[in-house]
């Protein structure tokens, strides 16, 4: 893998030299070179990011999507690659950074050389990129959880939540938005009865899930917005023989939840999807390179099937609602992450 990469790099460098830098301006037809620079190679999550980049490139038509990353996840490795990318005069780089700050000097150098730089997944601090693409925001995540469980329970019944610890910032913010969402009249037959805390421990989460089912014999569903919680809740529902009676959704990794999604214990769950990250990053870079937008606050970018992405304060852009995994697509994603 590494050898092939080095070979590729050498080829690319020679290619750049032989075609001379001056030609670039004149050659309008050559596709835009957009690089997806990830934390490290050989990680299923980032391979999926690369797939998203290729998908976007195919849709856009004028883009060549290049996937790169150091062999170990270090900031130094990424800096080296960015230096060579500056020399090659690529058009744009989207980075999932190994360090929020360490990359800033080299990405500034790249931007001075006319390369558009954005970050995604793991952001670079303000000043080191034009846009930082975040997968989702608290409000969208929280609201979606209620929508997902409502679809599973036919908009009826008591719903319990198995969270992580009681002071977990993420989970608490999401749960707050769940309580907001359920106020909508379409959920009038549904009720969030309790938040139980499984402390991200498999035994405690399991016990809390069993406790919810005992305490509320008519319980219709459980939302568990945490990976250990959803796994333990699924096992508890299965052991209690409540599959089909108690529905389950939450935030979980496809590779970990494949078994329970496929056997129906959890009808659907959500998480941000690396394919969408690569896809959206490529669209944003294309818009920046072609000058459709400058990357200022309030700019709107058309991102194909992901809809319109708006750039907010400090260049933060939100991709959207997390991706929904179900029986039909879980196997495909389980091999990725």
């Amino acid at each position: 893998m590494r050898k092939i990469l080095i070979l590729l790099l050498v080829l690319m460098i020679t290619a750049t030299f032989s075609f001379a830098a001056g030609q670039k301006e004149a050659d309008q037809d050559s596709p835009l070179k957009i690089v997806l620079l990830v934390k490290s190679l050989g990680n299923g999550f980032f391979e999926a990011v690369a797939d998203g980049g290729k998908e976007a490139a195919a849709e856009l038509g004028n883009v060549e999507s290049i996937y790169m990353g150091p062999s170990a996840s270090t900031a130094e490795g990424q800096i080296e690659i960015i230096e060579t990318l500056i020399a090659q005069q690529v058009d744009g780089i989207a980075i999932s950074a190994n360090d929020r700050d360490a990359l800033i000097p080299v990405t500034r150098k790249a931007m001075k050389a006319g390369i558009k730089v954005i970050s995604f997944d793991s952001g670079i601090n303000v000043g080191g990129r034009i846009v930082d693409l975040v997968p989702s925001v608290e409000e969208l995540i929280g609201r979606q959880q209620v929508q997902l469980i409502a679809e599973l329970t036919d908009y009826k019944g008591q719903i319990g939540i198995v969270s992580s610890t009681s002071q977990a910032t993420n989970q608490n913010a999401w749960i707050k938005w769940m309580y907001e969402e359920i106020k909508d009249p379409k959920y009038k037959d549904m009720e969030l009865v309790e938040v139980a805390y499984g402390d991200d421990a498999s035994d405690k989460s399991y016990r809390e899930a069993v406790g919810l089912m005992q305490k509320y014999p008519g319980l219709a569903g459980i939302i568990s917005p945490t990976t250990i919680g959803i796994l333990a809740s699924a096992k508890a529902i299965e052991d209690e023989g409540m599959e089909g009676k108690v529905q389950l959704t939450g935030l979980g990794l496809p590779s970990e939840m494949q078994h329970y999604i496929e056997n129906g214990t959890s009808g659907q769950m959500a998480l941000w999807n690396p394919i969408d990250l690569g896809y959206t990053s490529t669209f944003i870079l294309e818009a920046l390179i072609t000058g459709k937008v400058a990357g200022n606050e309030g700019d709107k970018i058309d991102a194909g099937r992901m809809g319109t992405i708006e750039i907010g304060k400090d260049g933060k852009a939100v991709m959207g609602t997390p991706f929904v995994f179900n029986k039909d697509n879980i196997a495909k994603f389980a091999v990725m992450f």
């Binding site: 421990a201 498999s202 016990r207 796994l231 333990a232 699924a234 970990e256």
Partner: protein
């Protein structure tokens, strides 16, 4: 009969009964036979490891690494099952137990020959073994679809209507009860903790006892690791974090002297059951989770105070009788 009521185990039994009555007033279905079985099933792992912890505490030591041993051996066993699905389950079970024993032996050697105090040794190995778990798994979990059905079935199989996890707990309890009461080595463990100097004079080998005790607790933790990961159908890197404190609490509740020398397997089992009932009841009782946490501490402390006060009174009575 009088003897019976003086025993610490009896006080604990009464406390458990009182607690059950209080819970039933809140949630009547809690004492249904199937729920009682569920609680015993849930507590079996705690019982096994607590008995191991009990032996260590008897010698005046403590083992803080039990939870990490559970985590490591559970992860190792799960990964064996993942990568070699055709490997017989019995072999994986023995491998898990063996790995636990080796880790325990490592503790024992450090304590016996390195002369490092047990609390320091096991505090160190607690992090080392947990670190190994991350290294071994590269941070990845082993979950249900990567495990074979037969692996996940280990704790769930039933015999005479009772789960195999409970049977394992019962067998471990009986064997260890016999071992501590009637086997010479078991008595030597008591001797070392009760009066070390006297024990050494009658020829008890302290190093040998330490190595045996820490290997045994490692072995039981290894067994618990396989059971744990199979039961929850998930081997995560954080498996059982914080569990060591529950094993110590079960021992102390069960009347084991934290300074060593006294206590019994029966008491430890009751202590573990007390904690098991409490942790299973809390999610069912209508009470905010924040009060639950506080309540858990209050109940454990309260039980300990009642327990030790009643013991003191008995000792005083005995003393008075002797003086008369």
């Amino acid at each position: 009969m009088r003897e019976f009521f003086k025993k610490r185990e009896t006080t604990l039994l009464i406390l458990i009964a009182v607690m059950l009555l209080l819970i039933v007033s809140q949630a009547p279905s809690f004492v249904s036979p199937e729920n009682i079985l569920r609680i015993i099933n849930d507590t079996s792992i705690l019982i096994m490891v607590s008995i191991g912890q009990f032996m260590v505490i008897l010698t005046g030591g403590i083992d803080l690494s039990v939870a990490s041993i559970i985590g490591f051996s559970g992860m190792a066993a799960s990964m064996m099952n993942q990568y070699f699905p055709e490997m017989p389950i019995v072999f994986i079970l023995f491998a898990g137990v063996g790995i636990g024993t080796v880790l325990g032996l490592f503790n024992g050697i450090l304590i016996a020959y390195g002369k490092v105090p047990p609390i320091i040794t096991t505090l160190g190995t607690m992090s080392i073994f947990r670190g190994f778990t991350f290294v071994l798994s590269k941070g990845q979990w082993v979950t249900a679809h990567e495990m074979t059905e037969s692996y996940m079935h280990i704790p769930h199989g039933t015999f005479l209507g009772v789960s195999s996890l409970i049977w394992v707990g019962v067998v471990v309890s009986l064997v260890m009860y016999y071992f501590m009461k009637y086997v010479k080595t078991g008595r030597e463990i008591y001797a070392i903790g009760g009066n070390k100097v006297a024990a050494l004079f009658v020829g008890v080998k302290e190093n040998k006892i330490n190595i045996i005790v820490y290997s045994l607790v490692g072995m039981l933790s290894g067994l618990a690791g396989v059971m744990w990961t199979a039961r929850y159908a998930a081997a995560v890197n954080e498996t059982a974090i914080g569990f060591e404190l529950f094993t110590v609490a079960a021992c102390v509740l069960g009347g084991v002297n934290i300074a060593g020398g006294s206590g019994g397997v029966a008491g430890v089992i009751l202590g573990a059951l007390f904690l098991g009932i409490l942790t299973n009841a809390l999610p069912v009782v209508h009470l905010s989770p924040f009060y639950q946490l506080g309540l858990q501490g209050v109940v454990i402390l309260g039980a300990m105070i009642v327990n030790s006060v009643s013991e003191k009174r008995n000792e005083k009575k005995l003393l008075n009788r002797r003086l008369q």
